[in-house]
Amino acid sequence: MLGSDGNAREPYIAYKNWLDGEDTKRLHRKSEDAEAFFRRTGITFNVYGEDEGDERLIPFDVIPRILSAGEWRKLSRGIEQRVKAINAFLYDIYHRQEILRAGRIPVELIANNIAFLPQMIGVNPPGGIYTHIIGTDIVRTGPGEFYVLEDNARTPSGVSYMLENRETMLHMFPELFARIGVQEVSSYPNNLRRSLAACAPPQCTGKPVVAVLTPGIHNSAYFEHSFLADQMGAELVEGHDLKIVDGRVAMRTTQGYTPIDVIYRRIDDDYLDPLNFLPNSMLGVPGIMDVYRSGGITIANAPGTGIADDKALYSYMPDIIEFYTGQKPLLENVPTWRCSEKDQLDYVLEHLAELVVKEVHGSGGYGMLVGPAASKKEVEDFRAKLIGNASNYIAQPTLALSTVPIFTEKGLSPRHVDLRPFVLVSPDRIDITPGGLTRVAMTEGSLVVNSSQGGGTKDTWVLEE
């Protein structure tokens, strides 16, 4: 919130003026109201391995994170460039593989990658879109300086929190929004529906029928799945509601089976089709891949998209962007050491205590080492894991992340954050919702913002021009 001179940074000036006039007690009360609001509406997530009735709230902080219109312009241009490159890369990698022929990325990176789906080779997804819904994780390190932490091109989650956080803020501080011009985020569900419908498959003749595919109510993100289906006016289906009827994917309704045109799936590739992937999976639809290949259904995101957000591939992203767009990347990557390469591994082992080390296929903040925050023993234990399976890891420096304040018992206190803006891709346009999900490390000094690790969220404001 504050610049190096101790004054509020430009985007925060109007908010800071309002905040200075606020009674701390009122803010505390609002914080408690927000919690009750989230509980009542059931905005919770399930934690794996705990009692299934035990749903947790993601801590919500009442102080918004604010970006200026200028910062947002810069960010969204960079994101758009990245998203286009990712879709071009995915098309290429499942067709002619020009980028491999050109020697710009090593063949092993694809050949040995579990996220690469040979079943997708030569398949043309409707509209040519592989990743319809992307969340790009971004950190800010200084004025106008943004780095991309990772691209979530597979199944990015958290958009429901972006929307509900804003609803909550509007409910609690209406007067604030009257005073400060904030760009709205509420059109996301409409855009999502429009965007998905625009990718209807060749066999769709009428108005596209859209459904969200969820693993079910015990999934950690079930709230989000039902929220999005509800907001889009789409059906929320599970694998056992679906089967292949006359060469189409159809859902069991009260009046028989009705074909679906576009399926926004929130289950991983492996579970999508027991005939093509994991034979024991009950979550997917037997035969859906065959319907997909014959143009009977659109799957969003397309199977095999995960190859693009593989952490080993991440370090090649600047090359990928240049290769497909012919331009320099507008947003920087965080420098990354690939532990699969001997000289880089040596460097990582030498500087382990200063680095963040992540599993190539990890997510949710599991299986990572944050060197500066780890004990000597944790570092040594991790060293053994790293040597044992070096190619499973990448390492990055701990960036001097900027902080934003959160509201605590003792008043405002700085915390590290990241930002996940949400992007929708359709054949004719790319929509980036002005805002995104700001995730906050709730422990002072911590860099881990994942909700599964106790991280919180706050509303993200992009100011009007």
């Binding site: 009542r40 059931g42 599970e238 056992h240 509601d241 069991r252 009260t254 009046q255």
Partner: protein, 316 residues
Amino acid sequence: MLGKTAASLFWMSRLLERTENSARLIEAGFRIALTHSSSASDEWASILASSGTKKSYLAKHADYSSVKVIDYLLRDKDNPGSVISLIKQARDSARTGRIALTREVWEATNEAWMNLKTALANPVDERDLPEVLAVIRKQSSLVRGAVLGTMLRNDGFDFIRLGTFIERADSTARILDVKYYLLLPSIAQIGTGVDNVQWETILRSVSAQRSYRWLNGSDISALSVAEYLILNRQMPRSLAFCYAQISDNLGYLESEYGSEVTSHRLATDICNRLLGQPVQNIFEGGLHEFIVEFLAANNSLAAQIESDYNFQDRIS
């Protein structure tokens, strides 16, 4: 609407109705226990029987002490018919069918679960029991109110109402049956003097002792209580009332979907065959026999609705 969604709405309301009936039953048992009459233990046995949990209770406990029975019916997580288990299942059903619910209905169901979880977090002291039972009834009423006040009168609404009335008819019939057997050990006693206090407990179980008096004054007899609970179409917990509603809702579904279904014919048949006769006929054939037949018919109607509207995939 998805078959699964229809099933979720149907079961959400059935389970909520069941929590409410369970609270009513416990209340009736507790009243008897409070009078310290010798029949308190029999009364608890009959209450367990009418909630269908007598066998599982006896597997766990050796006697019918009030404290044990109340705790079993309210809080025991091993008992799938306990209030805490039922409300959890009702809330899970609502989560599954949430996209077909208004925000108010979902929130009322979620709050019912949250509030009952709090109210039943610890064993309920006898002094607090009436209040806790009132909370249970009230939470169920709040959901019903939100349904009536905010839901579009579409297929989703019909499935919710069908769940409510199928369950309520089942509950009223069971109460009548179990009590009847408890109170009348011998068929020969029908029509002879029966203890008014005992018959009142039947009425109390369905919150109907006052409305019964409005209609019948202070004359309480087996025949008139049975008539009231089976055939009175003004009484919202009677079998006839429940079936009038069921028939209406199935009729709305038929006209919305534009196709006739077996379940509607079955409901009409139950109305005509079982509920269209004078109470004297019912007693002549045997009240218990009537109720057994009714419960079976009610169950088969529920199964027919499930099959007519594809609640589950029968093929896989």
